[in-house]
């Protein structure tokens, strides 16, 4: 089994990709097997445009890649991440690049790898969250790697992410259905965001505990920075919530770096007004 490794480092140019020959997969499995700390939190990605953003590793027979960054190994599906004490797996992956990564880029990554494991990872270890039960069969899997790429991240916002729909239009509630919100002072009433979302096909919900069978969607939550902006969260299959603040990376921690067990009680910065939980589904129209 060989490994295909992508070094996530560029914004404009295609990222370097190379293949690690036979034996590489076993070495990686061995290295990952030595990590004993797991967490519900996953790598949040990094600030856009900051250069080194980790490695994506794909085993031949698998469809989704493993994501390794800042000491965090994310298997890429609904399983806990592994938190390493150091950056050794990343350093090893870089050594497998050979001539696929030029000297200047290699020096940049080596410099980045001198830093400690991410603060988010350390927070995860100290405050591993007990996620609530996810009652929605259709709830999306938390997989930030899909969203945190140069082609997707800048053009999709919190509404795209909550609805699990990449449109590359920075989707606005109600725009697809001709009832875009006109004011951000109140959650409901004329021109507000909630009725705009209802127009797109979402439905308000008093809580996120009711069972949603297959085809009946998943839970999202709407909050307001009164008079200024709105924001959305979504509940993932693991039970905790995640979000994508504007054009920044998708993540599963709140403004204080904690796992989000309920957006109503999470640290939301200036988005002080909790409007409502809502139910969205694959058939909603957004643009």
């Amino acid at each position: 089994v060989s490994l295909t490794v992508t070094l996530n480092v560029f914004s404009g140019r295609p990222n370097p990709v190379w293949t690690v020959p036979e034996g590489g997969a076993a070495e990686l499995t061995d290295r990952i097997g030595k990590i004993s700390t797991s967490s519900n939190l996953k790598p949040a990605g990094v600030l856009d445009g900051l250069g080194y953003r980790g490695f994506s590793v794909r085993r031949n027979e698998e469809t989704s890649p493993l994501y390794v960054h800042a000491g965090i190994v994310d298997p890429g599906h609904a399983t806990p991440t592994l938190i390493a004490d150091d950056r050794e797996i990343e350093k090893w992956l870089l050594t497998t690049a050979g001539a696929s990564v030029d000297g200047e880029v290699k020096a940049h990554v080596e410099e980045s790898l001198k830093g400690p494991v991410s603060r988010a990872a350390l927070t995860a270890v100290s405050a591993a969250a007990h996620c609530p039960v996810c009652a929605a069969v259709d709830a999306p899997v938390y997989n930030p790697a899909i969203w945190n790429t140069p082609a997707v991240q800048p053009h999709n916002n919190c509404y795209n992410y909550a609805n699990n729909r990449i449109t590359n239009t920075f989707a606005q509630p109600g725009r697809a259905t001709g009832h875009m919100y006109k004011q951000l002072k109140t959650c409901t009433g004329a021109g507000a965001v909630e009725p705009a979302a209802v127009s797109d096909g979402l439905a308000a919900s008093a809580n996120f505990s009711g069972h949603l069978a297959a085809g009946h969607g998943w839970y999202v939550a709407l909050v307001l920075w009164p008079g200024t902006d709105y924001h959305w969260y979504r509940q993932d299959k693991v039970g905790c919530w995640s979000h994508k603040p504007g054009s920044t990376a998708a993540r599963n921690v709140d403004n204080a770096g904690h796992a989000i067990t309920d957006p109503k009680t999470a640290n939301r910065g200036p988005y002080t007004v909790f409007c409502t939980y809502m139910i969205t589904k694959a058939s909603v129209h957004i643009s």
Partner: protein, 139 residues
């Protein structure tokens, strides 16, 4: 009317000099600069453009800033600073720091001792974004 070769030469030399001069100014950052107020999640972030003169002034100030040893913690939600874009260069101004993002060479973190963020906040206020920079504790 026929232009004499001597004048032809002078005109060509003048045109070349103008072109070289303009390109040097451009290299110095005087191409105008986009400012993005990075704060929103649902709505698109506000953007405006600085004049070439103002852009050049900012870049000159930034070049003279001292290196900082630490990066600011940038929140997920709310005011995340200003992103200045000129050509391929992207510069984030937040929390008393100026982060020059230039992959693959990596980032440089500088101390904002020239009041760049304060000036950008004043610009944001004058464009009607008072609440955005005030609600987030940036005064």
């Amino acid at each position: 009317m026929e232009i004499r070769p001597k004048w032809k030469f002078r005109m060509t030399a003048f045109t070349l000099a103008v072109l070289i001069c303009c390109s040097m100014i451009a290299c110095d950052g005087a191409r105008g600069m986009e400012v993005e107020l990075d704060a929103f999640s649902g709505r698109p972030n506000p953007k405006w453009t600085l004049s070439p003169e103002k852009a050049s002034e900012f870049l000159t100030k930034i070049k003279a800033l001292p290196t900082a040893g630490d990066a600011p913690h940038i929140p997920d939600l709310g005011f995340r600073g200003f992103v200045l874009r000129s050509g391929d260069q992207s510069i984030r101004v937040y929390g008393g720091r100026v982060l020059i993002e230039a992959p693959p060479r990596g980032s440089r973190i500088l101390r904002d001792t020239a009041g760049i963020q304060a000036e950008l906040i004043a610009q944001a206020r004058s464009r009607g974004f008072e609440a955005v920079v005030t609600d987030s504790g940036q005064r």
